[in-house]
Amino acid sequence: MTTTPAPSAPGTPAPDAPVLEAVDVTKHFTVRSAVGTRSVVRAVEGATLSLPRGRVVALVGESGSGKTTLARLLAGFYAPTSGEIRLEGVPVRQRRGRVERGHHRDVQLVFQDPFGSLNPLHRVRHNIERPLRLHHGVRGKAELDRRVRELLERVALTPVEQFVDKFPHELSGGQRQRVVIARALAVEPKVLLGDEPISMLDVSIRLEMLNLLDRLRTEDGLALLYITHDIASARYLCDDIVVMYAGEMVEGGPKEHVIADPQHPYTRLLVESSPDPGRGARDREALFDADADSLGEPPSLIDPPAGCRFHPRCPFAMDVCRTQAPERINLGDGRWARCWLHQEGRAGELARPGAGVEPVAPGALAEPAAAPTATRTTQETQ
């Protein structure tokens, strides 16, 4: 199976125009506390993101970084406070907080929790027939049956007879998530937004789900947004990675570059903190050194720090970081970062390897001593 994406060749522009874009999108929520004071949660601030056909973009960040809010903005759940969501270049209009049904026809969202996103009272069949009726006017039992069968086969829920009349509680987590994906596919969308689609699944079946998503991208040319906090799974599935921190996008670019050679201090921290058994068994001490004790925490989005939102935790913080938000700087090869280090000419300091992490040039990935077997199916990206 040769489904691994074409190498994200540096410098070449995306094959075609983006299907779905967020242009400088900001979303603020007004919350009222129990005592009646109002405050504004700045969930997403100036986010720009584009999803081209047949590519997988990963949105990586911690909880509360605004990645789910951005996904819901893209899905048309709420209207942005400012900025635009564009579907094939056309701004999406909202009517009384709800987009037209046409938007849902092109953009579908897969939720994190497969246990929560299926109504426990409806059978699998109902879930898949509804979008078929709604969007394709499919009537007639025979035709519905055929289409339902086709969809379940595409998400590998076979034999179909075994699953089609089941209730969600009779299915495992992985099977439920397949139903959710089949339901989204029934609409025949152009964009699939996956909001941590594997994080609630058992470890051993996560890869199958990622492989399924990869296949859908390749076969259908879907544009895929993969939201995750797990940078390793993002690397496995995606072409590009965008990193969010405290509601802002801090870095983006082709995945291998971003992981191997982070251009933002937060990305570096994130990569260093991610578990990596490849490094683990060897230098545990280095990874969990003394300064790992106090890495700080993300700020409150009600009252975020002035300037760069990462500056209170940043080992490189300068005076300018505390007062002024950095601009988005293009670094070539499709990479960009928002960090004063680049504007101040101190970017070189980022390359200094962090504790226990040695950046490897993307082209020179060496087979580690403990490489697992099954090299036959090995496919290298890059």
Binding site: H104, Q108, S117, N119, L121, R130, P131, L134, H135, V187
Partner: protein, 327 residues
């Protein structure tokens, strides 16, 4: 769903409650026909030869001060009381859903208005209002009583429904179906409402109890249809004739007991519904725990017999009996 029904019927509380309710419903439906077909059991006939008699072979539950058969009256009263109870519960529940569901689902301004409405009804002095309205509509039948009770008794339920609808509406599957482009009415009635059935059932049963009680209470205060017979009117008549002072317990105990029975039965069914929606309320029967421990003791040795090496251990376990003696 059938599994749900099976689970529901498994508990003794639900079964006992439903049996009692079913008995009264049947009595309400067929009782009057029964009394009519047995000569001498006319609830309205005044037998001047038998005034205020205690229970006897002829009059099983005795007679009233007016020479009416108490058994026949109680049976006839079942119809009246349950009619009011059920009709007011239907009206109250329907209003509660009508107000609570959209409030919880749509939120925002819709919620503010509907919530205002139900709050208004909550703070309204209901009893004086009922007295006024009932006085205004004097002499009308039991169904007016039921209407009044239902109309003034939905607000608490609406708040419950609103809270539940709000929580269900924010669950992922409703958002997911919304993303599919499902219209509001489908989301309301196919996704959200079915999840509230437990609450609605509980509310309805509560409404039945409330209706029966309220009818009795209103009758006691003199607000009722003079021609109709219900448990409430029976008690009221007994009170007016000082049945307590005269020691005519057979006049007011049967209707009182019936009211208590219906209320208990509905409450028992409610317990069952609660346990179903919240499995934590189910208690593990001690006998089952003990059985498991006992069986584990013997199964431990049997299961390991084919596996050399662990037999010794398992035997040791059986020997010392892992079952703690129960407190």
């Amino acid at each position: 769903m059938s599994a749900v029904r099976r689970d529901l019927l498994r508990g003794w509380k639900v079964r006992a409650g439903l049996s009692v309710l079913a008995f009264f419903v049947l009595l309400a439906l067929f009782g009057p026909w029964l009394t009519a077909s047995v000569p001498g059991l006319d609830p309205r006939a005044n037998d001047l030869t038998a005034i205020g008699l205690p229970p006897s072979a002829e009059h099983w539950l005795g007679t009233t001060q007016f020479g009416q058969d108490v058994l026949a009256q109680t049976i006839e009263g079942t119809r009246g009381s349950l009619f009011v109870g059920f009709l007011s519960a239907v009206i109250g529940t329907a209003l509660a859903i009508l107000v609570g569901l959209p409030a919880g689902y749509f939120g925002g301004r819709t919620d503010s208005w509907l919530n205002f409405l139900s709050n208004l009804f909550i703070v309204m002095p209901v009893l004086p209002l009922i007295l006024i309205v009932a006085g205004y509509m004097q002499g009308t039948g039991l169904w007016v009583i039921a209407l009044i009770i239902g109309f003034f008794g939905w607000s608490g339920g609406a708040r419950t429904i609103r809270a539940q609808a709000m929580s269900v509406s924010n669950r992922d599957f409703v958002l997911a179906m919304r993303t599919l482009g499902e219209p509001h009415h489908r989301l309301l009635f196919h996704e959200v409402l079915p999840h509230l059935t437990g609450w609605i059932a509980a509310m309805f049963l509560q409404g039945v109890i409330g209706g029966v009680m309220a009818e009795a209470g209103l009758a006691f205060l003199g607000i009722s249809d003079s021609g109709a017979i219900s448990w409430g009117t029976m008690i009221q008549a007994a009170q007016q004739q000082s049945a307590v002072l005269r020691g005519m317990w057979w006049w007011f105990v049967p209707p009182g007991l019936c009211i208590a029975l219906v209320a208990t039965a509905a409450t028992l069914v409610n317990f069952g519904v609660d346990e179903l929606s919240n499995p934590k309320l189910r208690t593990v029967r001690r006998s089952v725990v003990r059985r498991t421990r006992d069986r584990a003791g013997s199964a431990g040795s049997a299961g390991s017999a084919d596996r050399a090496g662990s037999t010794d251990r398992a035997d040791g376990v059986v020997g010392q009996s892992p079952v703690g003696s129960d407190a």
